[in-house]
């Protein structure tokens, strides 16, 4: 196994670890830190793929990821948390052990799902497709278990990270124009989320999503 492949496997394993750590982290600031670290890992793995395969556009992609996911978004989230005065917030999470066990089951499912696809991909990184899918599923789980709006959004962004990792793992990255478009959408999305946080807090005096469960068709 080449050095590059080993490095990518290491980074992939760390990414998965981050996903688990985020699942269990109650403190908002620490969660943002973990998210930034995940972004940095993603950028590093993209850079390794770029270096080992000589795909020039992947360097751009790695730089963009590093800038956006490891620096800009965490900073924006941090500022939002400070301005919303929730920086010291500790989220009451019930049943962390159960959540982690469900997470392990999801990882197994993800690997099983990724098997046939990984066989087709001719990339050196194809073994990581399972990990990418596992990250996606763990992020979904995080969105379901969290009660705070900001934590849900971090789950959503981490899902995006998982998808990006899948894209580099399976195909050496999407065409540049598409990647730029996706980055733009993510950036605008976070700004819109930010506006939302303020509107939600203004209206409900808290960022707990339990206030957002009143509508329905119960008659």
């Amino acid at each position: 196994m080449s050095l590059a492949a080993q490095l990518i496997d290491l980074l992939a394993a760390l990414l998965l670890l981050m996903a688990f750590a985020m699942l269990a982290q109650r403190r908002l600031m620490a969660l943002i830190g973990l998210f930034a670290f995940q972004g940095a890992l993603l950028a590093a793995s993209t850079a390794v793929v770029a270096w080992s395969t000589g795909q020039a556009h992947l360097w751009w992609s790695a730089g963009l990821t590093a800038l956006l996911k490891a620096v800009v978004l965490p900073l924006v989230l941090r500022r939002l948390a400070v301005r919303l005065a929730v920086a010291r917030d500790v989220e009451p999470l019930v049943n962390v052990p159960t959540t982690l066990l469900v997470g392990i089951a999801l990882v197994v499912v993800a690997f099983d799902l990724a098997l046939p696809m990984a066989e087709l991909a001719g990339t050196i990184t194809r073994g990581t497709l399972g990990i990418a899918m596992a990250c996606v599923l763990l992020s979904l789980l995080m969105m379901i278990t969290r009660r705070r709006a900001i934590a849900q959004v971090i789950g959503f962004l981490s899902l995006e990270n998982g998808l990006f990792f899948a894209a580099t793992g399976a195909t050496y990255g999407m065409p540049m124009v598409v990647e730029l478009g996706i980055a733009l959408d993510v950036l605008v999305g976070v700004l819109v989320f930010g506006i939302f946080f303020f509107r939600i807090r203004e209206t409900f005096d808290s960022l707990d999503v339990e206030h957002l469960e009143k509508l329905g068709d119960r008659g």
Binding site: Q55, L113, P116, M117, L120, A121, G122, V136, L140, M143, A149, Q152, F156, L159, E160, L163, A166, A167, A170, T171, Y172, M174, P175, M176, V177, V178, G181, I182, L184, D185, V188, G189, V192, F193, I195, F196, R199, I200, E202, T203, F204, V209, H211, L212, E213, K214, L215, D217, G219
Partner: protein
Amino acid sequence: MSLLLLLVLPLAGAALLALRGERPEAAAVNAIFAGAGLACAAGLALKVVAGGPLVAFGEQFHLDAFNVFLVVLTAFVGFTTALFSRPYMRTEADRERIGARGLRLYHAMYQLFLFTMQLALTTNNLGILWVAMEGATLATVLLVSLYRTPASLEAAWKYFLLCGVGIAQALFGTILLYLAAEKALGAGGTALLWTHLAAVKSGLEPGVLAIAFVFLLTGYGTKVGLVPLHNWLPDAHAEGPTPISAVLSGLLLNVALYAVVRGKVLVDGALGTPLAGRLMMGFGLLTVVVAALFLVRQRDVKRLFAWSSIEHMGLITFAFGMGGAVASFAALLHMTVHSLTKSAIFFAAGHAAQKAGTQAMDGIRGLVSRSPAVGWGLLLGTLAILGVPPFGVFTAEFMILTTAMGRQPWAAPVLLLALGVAFAAVFGRVQAMVFGEPTGEPLKHRPLTAPVFVHLAIVLLLGLWIPPWIAAWYRQAASMLG
């Protein structure tokens, strides 16, 4: 040239209205930009219908009979909704439900939304299609919470998260599609171009494409409003301003379904089995049945018609799933007439709710005696959407049902029963709103009911007699869909 204008005009409009959108003439400017877009769309359609499919700007854009028909429909409904929104939003502003900043946001985002719709339709790049669909969510989500009420915030939050997760699945589907395409077309820019993919579709790896389609269907299906991914739809339609309900139902759902159908064509080519069609039929049938049952228990007029949109999108998805010349033709026709009828209904229902001061159907009474145009518009629109002949919805539903009887006999009675339940549920409600003792007060700004009747007249015309050139156009599009 008209393609460039079609995309640049709404962007320019958005920039202009973001700066000056609170001024009294902004609503007219909004309508003028939308109208100019319609002119461009018509020009494009003439070119494509006469000269066949075309690609432009280094193959990044692609127009054929299928998407150009949606381009025209989108531009048309975008234009009439902008006309309707003028008196509607003025009344809202008078009642202080929305301030100057809100109006700026509303007008700018309206144009931006039209831009994302036209970009999604005309792009040849499936990745850009995804970016545009996500952009459409971003453009409309702040409009859903425009009134800043607790309910509207909840609706917008749900819309944002559910569609965000849904669209993320569609991105994964797109990545898988690219993975398969790379094998056939080589890495780089062309592997996500639809025209290139369609040319080599039979050579794409079937296993990967099948999984990719499942992700595309659930992803874009969330935006179509397919059960069980529909949860955001009634809330977003009910809590946002009515012009937005009209364009969500009339444009966004169609364009999302367009994305699914584009995916289906590729998967069918690669698999050579009816897997994609069967999945769409299953989702479609489930959607129709569940929506019919939920229609019965609605109390809010906009929620009622939002559920009716879910029902119709289910039916159209089912028809595309069946495939074949007749079913695809019917599905395209149904897309057209549903879009026109549903936006007309929202125009009428919006004015009715404004007049009564409530969206609760129990609070809306006697529309015909107080404001005949709104009342008759709502009644005729409802009859049309319920599939009463001779309106075009009847023609489309009749074609879908007869095809289903021949090809999928198990599904036909279920569909028929669901349509029956929906008829009983909706008609009873609307009849009570239209007749009876009037409530509410007259509106200061005269409601603009011309768009309602123009839409309904077109729907009626399509029901009585489809002009041969339109029929030929639909047939051409249907033949591409297989």
